[in-house]
């Protein structure tokens, strides 16, 4: 594809349910990032994948959050037992390599936990 795509665009879920958010990076990009953007806030780093290396999970806010990247391409961010404070826009970005490269962002998934 021409850019980073994310699905769904919007997700409304009930408190306590699990959700999965998907990211398709730009073909050929080896690095993939997940960020969280709460209302009116900047971007909070969550997790980073680089090729087949172990991901950098240092930004995940709790053990309810996890992410996978299959085959070095598509990534899924999973939030278990969602809480209202998880409501935010979740942005995915990819870059050609990991270091000092411009990140290309997807349109994000707006998650609302009711």
């Amino acid at each position: 594809g021409a850019g980073v795509s994310q699905s769904p665009s919007n997700k409304v879920t009930e408190k306590g349910k699990d959700v999965e958010l998907r990211c398709d990076p730009i073909s050929g990009h080896t690095a993939l990032y997940w960020y969280r953007q709460s209302l009116g806030q900047g971007l909070e780093f969550l997790i980073y994948f680089q090729g087949n290396s172990a991901p950098d999970k240092s930004g995940l806010p709790s053990d309810r959050f996890s992410a996978e990247r299959t085959g070095g391409s598509v990534s899924t961010l999973t939030i278990q037992r969602t809480q209202q404070e998880d409501s935010a826009v979740y942005l995915c970005a990819s870059s050609f390599s990991s270091h000092s490269e411009e990140q290309y962002f997807g349109p994000g998934t707006r998650l609302t936990v009711t």
Partner: protein
């Protein structure tokens, strides 16, 4: 730790006029990169301009230019001949050389008025 500060939560400018958005950062590093990203209502983050810290010359992209003051740790964005399509959130970001760690400011909401 690196921090990025955008002291102007909101700004407005008349169409065709010039506006400057402020950004300061705190780091002990000598090699790093600075970015300005634009996020319109569509949520799609778009890179506006990038500056390498080792370059003394200020980066310029058409109507967008920066004033990079390394000693003062300042990285302001100037938008000339503002257009209605420039209305967006603008995020300043810092990335240490040879890392994947990009830190974002809280953003400045810019409104261009007709």
């Amino acid at each position: 730790a690196q921090t990025v500060t955008q002291s102007q939560p909101e700004m407005s400018v008349q169409e065709a006029e010039t506006v400057t958005l402020s950004c300061t950062y705190d780091t002990s590093e000598n090699n790093y990169y600075l970015f300005w990203y634009k996020q319109p209502p569509s949520r799609q983050m778009i890179l506006v301009i990038r500056q390498e810290a080792y370059k003394q010359q200020n980066a310029t992209e058409n109507r967008f230019s920066v004033n990079f003051q390394k000693a003062a740790k300042s990285f302001s964005l100037k938008i000339s001949d503002s257009q209605l399509g420039d209305t967006a959130m603008y995020f300043c970001a810092f990335m240490k050389h040879n890392t994947n760690d990009m830190r974002f400011g809280a953003g400045t909401r810019l409104t261009v008025k007709p």
